[in-house]
Amino acid sequence: MRVLAGNQILREALAQEMERDQRVWLLGEDIGVLGGIYKVTEGLLQRFGRDRVTDMPISESGFVGMAAGAAMLGLRPVVELMFADLFPVCMDQIVNTAAKTRFVTNGLLHVPMVIRTPTISNVTAYQSQTFEAWLAHVPGLKVVMPSKPQDLGGLLLASIRDPDPVIFLENRFVYDMMGEVPDVIEPIPLGQARICREGTDVTLVAWGANMVQMAEQVADQAAEDGVSVEVIDPRTLVPFDLRAIVQSVCKTGRLVVLHEAVRRCGFGAEIVASIADSEAFSKLRAPMIRVANPGVPVPFSRALHKYALPAAEDLMAAIYRVMKRVMPKAMPKTTVKQQVELVASRPSGYLRR
C-alpha cells in the first residue's frame, strides 16, 4: 500500500488501465503538456503519446460527441472536461448520443466512455456548479461521485471498464486528500455505498469530498453531545445503493441529506422521495431534511458564502432539529483581509482558492 494524493491516485488508475487496454483514449483540454488543471494526467502524454493523450480545442460539444462516436466503434474514450460547469455546453451529446445509443439500437451499439471532471464547488457563479442531479435524471447514464481518495482508483477503473457511459465527478478537494492505494488497483463495483461512520440516531447521507468530510466532522462533534450519526457516502448516484440508506433509516428513523448543489431538484430530493416511498417511511420519527445550496449562484466573495453554501453550522442545526434538541449557535464574521489570507494559504494550482 502506498499513500498518494487524490490526483495521483487517479493518474495511477488511468496509467494502469492504459497499459492494460490499448483502446483507452484520453482526450480533453490541456491534458497533455499541462497535465490538466489539477494535474491528473500529468506525464501521461510523455508516456503514451499524442494518439492516446490528445489535447482538444475549446469544443466540448464536439469532442464529447466525437468520444461517443469513437466508443461506438470500439475505443474506450476517457474525456476530461476542464470543470463540471462545462456540462451545459455539451449536454446534447451526453443526453442524446452517449446515453441513448444502446437503447435506440436495441443493444447493437453501446457507448463505453467516461467523462471525468472536477466539480470546483466554491469559486464563482460560473465555476462552482455541480450538475449531478441533471445527469442522474438522464436515462442511460451512470453517475459516479467518489468522495474518499481511497475510492478514486477503484471506481475509475470500474467506470472505464463499464460498457455504459459513466459520468465521473471529482470534487476538487479530493485531489489534495491523501489515501491508500494498493500496488495494483482493483475495480470497485458501482452501486455500493460506503458507511463512513456507524450510528443509531440519525442517518446522514452526503457526497462530494468536502461534504463527506464535513459530515464526518459534524458527526464526530455530535457524538460528543451524545448524538449518534451514521454517515453514508453513496459513492455512485446511478446505480444507487438505496438498500443501504433504507436499512440505515429503518434503524435511525431520521434522515438528513447534505449536498453542495442547489437544493431545488437536487439529488437530495430524490433520496428523500425514495425513502418516502420505501419501507423506511413508517419508521420515520422526524421530518427529512436537506442541507444544500438554497438556490443562489455561488458568489465570488467569500463573505457572501455564509448563506450560499452549506456550512457545518447548518448541518449541525439540521441534526439537532431532527433530534428535536436545541443547539446554541454562533458564527464568526470573516473580513476581506482574512479572506485574502485564506486564499494565500492554499496550495498552489489552478483555482485552488
Binding site: P57, S61, L75
Partner: protein
C-alpha cells in the same frame, strides 16, 4: 461497352439507376401510405435528392461506414438494407432492428456499416468524426461518410466537428445535402456563406460544390474525398446542390411557390441518369418496366409483411438501456 468516368462500368450505372429509382418509388409510396394512415412513422422523404445518397455511398467498401441524415434514405438502400427491414422499423414492430424503440431514420445497422445520429440536427457530425478516429486507429484505411443538410451546417456542432476532423486528420467525408431549405427556412437566407463548401476554409480542408442531381458527379467527388481520407490526408467537405421536391415532411404544409417546385423538377436525378443510359443504349423501356414492377412488388409486399409483424413485448423497455436491466439502477 461504353466508357464511363471513374472506372465505372455499365453495370455500376444500372445499379445506381435502380437505386435512384427505388428511392423515388419508396418516397412516393411512403408519402402516400403515411397520408392514408398505413404508416405510423412520420417519414422524411428524399425525393429529388436520391442521387446524393446513392452517389456518395456507392463504391464504399464493406468495412466503411456511413452516417445518414434524417433524409438520406438512399444510404440504407445503397448499403444493402432492405425496405422490409426499414418498414419493420417504420411499424415499430418486434422485427425492427431497433426492436421498435426508434424510427427507421434512426435505425443503425452496424453489420452494414450504418451508424445513426440522434434527432438533433447536426449532432451526428462529431459522432462521425469519432467513428473516423476509431477507424483510423484500426489502420485498415476505412472511412466514414457523414451526411447532413444545409440547415445543419448552421449548428455549432458542425463547426466544432469539422475543426476537430481537420486537426486530427480524421478519415471522414462530410456530405452536405444542400436541398435549399431547412424545414421552411431557405438556405439563401439562413446560410450566410455563398456556398456551404466555402465553410471548408474555416478548417483549411478541401471544400467542393457539386451538382447533386448528377449521380456521377457526386460519385466522382465522393470517391476523390474517400481516397484522400483513406490515404490519411484527412477530411473533405462536399456540398451537393440538390432539390427537395416534397415538403419537409407530410405533416407540414408546403409554402414554396409552384414555379419553384416546377423548376426543380427540370433537373431530376432519375431523368439525368436515365437519359444518359438510354442514349448509350443501356436502358430499354422494357428494363425500366421490369425494374418498376419489381420495385412496386417489393414495396407492397414488404409493407404488408411489416404490417403483420409482431408487436414488441412492453417489458422489453427495461433492457438494453444499460448493460444491466434498468431496474437494477436502484432508484
Amino acid at each position: 461497352m461504353a466508357k464511363f468516368p471513374y472506372g465505372l462500368t455499365a453495370d455500376d450505372l444500372l445499379k445506381m439507376y435502380r437505386l435512384i429509382l427505388f428511392g423515388r418509388r419508396y418516397g412516393e409510396s411512403v408519402d402516400r401510405w403515411y397520408k392514408a394512415g398505413r404508416l405510423p412513422q412520420l417519414p422524411y422523404i428524399s425525393m429529388g435528392q436520391e442521387a446524393v445518397g446513392v452517389g456518395a455511398c456507392y463504391g464504399l467498401r464493406a468495412d466503411d461506414w456511413v452516417l445518414p441524415s434524417l433524409r438520406t434514405n438512399e444510404a440504407y438502400w445503397t448499403r444493402g438494407v432492405t425496405v422490409l427491414e426499414q418498414f419493420h422499423g417504420m411499424m415499430g414492430n418486434a422485427h425492427s432492428i431497433t426492436g421498435g424503440r426508434e424510427t427507421s431514420n434512426h435505425a443503425a445497422y452496424p453489420d452494414r456499416g450504418i451508424l445513426v445520429g440522434t434527432g438533433l440536427i447536426a449532432s451526428q457530425i462529431p459522432v462521425a468524426v469519432g467513428a473516423a478516429i476509431a477507424l483510423k486507429r484500426k489502420g485498415k484505411g476505412d472511412v466514414i461518410v457523414c451526411f447532413f443538410g444545409d440547415g445543419g451546417s448552421n449548428r455549432g456542432d458542425f463547426h466544432e466537428a469539422l475543426n476537430l476532423a481537420s486537426m486530427l486528420k480524421a478519415p471522414v467525408v462530410f456530405v452536405c445535402e444542400n436541398n435549399g431549405y431547412g424545414f421552411t427556412a431557405p438556405a439563401s437566407e439562413v446560410v450566410t456563406a455563398k456556398d456551404v463548401a466555402d465553410r471548408a476554409m474555416s478548417y483549411a480542408m478541401p471544400g467542393k460544390t457539386v451538382d447533386g442531381q448528377d449521380v456521377l458527379a457526386v460519385y466522382g467527388a465522393a470517391q476523390e474525398a474517400v481516397k484522400r481520407a483513406r490515404q490519411g490526408e484527412g477530411p473533405t467537405l462536399l456540398e451537393c446542390k440538390t432539390h427537395r421536391y416534397l415538403p419537409h415532411c407530410p405533416s407540414v404544409e408546403e409554402e414554396r411557390p409552384p414555379e419553384v417546385l416546377h423548376k426543380m423538377r427540370q433537373r431530376d436525378p432519375l431523368v439525368i441518369l436515365g437519359d444518359r443510359l438510354q442514349r448509350e443504349g443501356l436502358l430499354s423501356q422494357a428494363t425500366i418496366q421490369s425494374m418498376e414492377q419489381e420495385i412496386r412488388q417489393e414495396l407492397e409486399d414488404s409493407l404488408e409483411q411489416a404490417e403483420h409483424g409482431p408487436i414488441p413485448e412492453p417489458a422489453e423497455v427495461f433492457h438494453n438501456l444499460y448493460c444491466e436491466p434498468t431496474t437494477a439502477m436502484g432508484l
